[in-house]
Amino acid sequence: MLEAINLTKRYEDGELALDGLTFKVEPGEIFCMFGANGAGKTTAINLFLNFIPATSGTALIEGIDVAKDPLKAKRHVSFVSENVMLYGNFTAVQNLDYFSRLAGKRTLKKKDYAEVLDRVGLQKEAFDRRVKNFSKGMRQKLGIAIALVKDAPNVLLDEPTSGLDPQSGREFLEILVQMRDKGKSVFMSTHDIFRAKLIADRIGFMRRGRLVMMKTAMELAHEDLTDLYIQYMEEQPAQPSAALSA
């Protein structure tokens, strides 16, 4: 389970990147967070991974305070970032092997890696090819494979579908659904409203570091997500309490 409690981040230059962010992602749930660039989505993920310290508030992974015990907390989370380049001189299998070892998976064999790579939709002939020759979509699939191999109960995804072609995008969504079905808590920051609508259990909108709206899939069933997106991305006084109570 992922939980943010009143998470606030103010940078040294005074910029308020996150302002009292509070949300929870339950096991077996996909939570999609929308927001314009600079709204605070990536900052929230960075706080969960302890890449930056929070000014106030708490980020919990499986109930472990990330600020207090970051290494223990990271044991329970996988991460897929936007546009990861990986090690260009390594093959897909070599990249997977290295990151799975860092994740503590030391007993995996080449056939295990092949299975995961196959699952994310990477062509067989690419398994032993150098990653520097991969397209963005292929690298993204490899990034997802790295997260899959770790098999953590929580998954953080930072705009993972950017640059994916429709086929790859669909395969990717299937993997996320499988993750949810396995009881994993999935938090995804994205701009991709169409794909998110297909799989999200809950959707949140962020603006200027604040969570300005949160709705369940059921609540969204009869709403046009594009209209909502435009509506909430427009400049307006933030009324989080009213929106959240909706």
Partner: protein, 468 residues
């Protein structure tokens, strides 16, 4: 986990084009430098042997001691076997010092003076390759060690796992260093084999000790640039910035500081020019020559009556006078010259030490002075040689003066054939390894301190590095 990080770092480096490029260039340059060093050493050794034989033949062919006194003796410094790897100032300074009654000995006939084009580019020895080329490779291997991973996104991905930052930087440092050493070790081992199998090169136990210490110094020097690269890489947010900063520091360390230190030392502690010193010596020599002419005439005037009374006794008396008077005059010249020289050398040494100590802020200077001391091809070794020749000069002068006086035949004017059997020989006590080691302690210490400072800097910076 540390092993995985080290393994990854090595694999990532050795599969990169920069590794192949480094390996090829290192192999070519190192082998070429050792081949050049060996060829030069063999030529210099041959030249030295020929010069000794020629000098002896030249001396023996002189008709009498007067002409021998005129040409004097040439003392030749043998080439150093470790000059094959660290040429030092072997080619810049001559290895021959002529010794005669009047002139003060100085080193002449350097390779650069015979062919100035060599001075334009300097020697291509192993030390030059390590100092210039390999230090650049160390930068090439590290400038993007941290910041490059940030740009690729792999740093975030790695640190999203249960990976402590200290272990990651340690693994990267160890793996990176091994990757840097790999392309060096093979050509270095091949170089050692070349030194072992070349017939004219015989390395004694002490030479091997010196060679290993020189190699240790090379590795320490490269470690300075390696840890500096890590440090700058952990302080910047773009690899292009990191590379530019490192290049700037490299230029300052390798090119600017050593030269500026010498210029500054010259300004702070000025010394008279060699021409001024020579002019002073020449003026005194002229004064002595005039004085001695007058002395001879006075003596002859005073003892003229004795010559008519008992020519044989006069002859003996004159011989004795000549020997003593000649000795007295040459002693005066030697004393004056050595006083001028002592003062000059003292001031020169003070300036030299100031320049060396100031330039030691740069690891390149520490490497240069340290390795030259170990290879016995540095300034100090030439100073020691020259000092030994200057100490030999009065011994030789005394011998030739006694021969001159004894060999004059006042009746016929004929002089006997010369014999060099009892001529005193120049000797020089070799500098032992322990003494050289003591003199290189500041250089070793400085390199180690720099490594520690830069590595700790990299370590601490990485613990707080913004991986986003």
């Amino acid at each position: 986990m540390l092993r995985d990080i080290i393994k990854k770092e090595i694999l990532d480096n050795i599969t990169s084009p920069k590794f192949v490029f480094t390996f090829l260039l290192c192999t070519i340059l190192i082998l070429l430098s050792v081949y050049t060093g060996v060829t030069n050493y063999r030529a210099e050794k041959k030249e030295h042997t020929a010069s000794l034989a020629l000098n002896k033949k030249n001396m023996e062919s002189q008709p009498n001691f007067s002409s021998l006194a005129g040409i004097g003796v040439k003392v030749s410094k043998p080439p150093q076997v470790l000059g094959t790897v660290v040429n030092g100032i072997e080619e810049a300074v001559g290895r021959v010092a002529p010794v005669n009654i009047v002139a003060d000995p100085n080193l002449i006939d350097s390779k650069y003076s015979s062919n100035p084009v060599f001075a334009v580019f300097g020697p291509l020895d192993l030390m030059f390759i390590v100092k210039i080329v390999l230090s650049l490779f160390a930068i090439l291997f590290t400038y993007d060690a941290i910041v490059g991973e940030k740009e690729k996104g792999t740093l975030k991905l790695a640190l999203s796992n249960e990976v402590p930052r200290d272990r990651l930087i340690l693994g990267k440092a160890i793996g990176g260093y091994i990757s840097l050493l790999l392309p060096l070790l093979i050509p270095l081992v091949l170089s050692l084999i070349i030194l072992l199998i070349t017939p004219d090169i015989s390395l004694g136990g002490e030479d091997w000790g010196r060679l290993l210490l020189i190699f240790l110094m090379f590795f320490l020097y490269l470690s300075v640039f390696f840890s500096l690269g890590l440090f700058v890489s952990a302080r910047t947010s773009r690899s292009s910035t990191s590379f530019l900063v490192l290049l700037f520091i490299w230029v300052v360390f390798v090119m600017v500081i050593p030269k500026v230190a010498v210029i500054t030392a010259g300004q702070i502690r000025p010394i008279p020019s060699v021409h001024e010193i020579t002019a002073k010596k020449d003026a005194f020599l002229q004064q002595i020559q005039t004085e001695s002419q007058k002395g001879y005439l006075d003596w002859v005037q005073k003892n003229r009556t004795d010559a008519q009374k008992d020519p044989k006794a006069f002859e003996e008396k004159f011989r004795q006078f000549l020997q003593n008077y000649q000795q007295e005059m040459t002693s005066k010249i030697d004393e004056n010259n050595s006083a001028i020289e002592r003062d000059y050398q003292q001031r020169k040494r003070a300036q030299q030490n100031l320049a060396i100590n100031m330039s030691r802020i740069s690891p390149a200077s520490a490497l240069t002075f340290g390795s030259m001391t170990l290879a016995k091809t540095g300034v100090n070794d030439f100073d020691r040689f020259l000092a030994s020749v200057r100490a030999y000069k009065p011994i030789y002068t005394k011998w030739i003066n006694s021969k001159l006086a004894q060999s004059i035949n006042f009746q016929t004017g004929e002089q006997p054939k010369i014999s060099l059997d009892d001529m005193p020989q120049h000797t020089i006590e070799p500098e032992w390894l322990s003494r050289s080691l003591v003199r290189t302690i500041p250089d070793f210490a400085l390199l180690i301190v720099m490594i520690i400072i830069f590595f700790v800097g990299a370590y601490v910076s990485f613990l707080h590095y913004d991986v986003r």
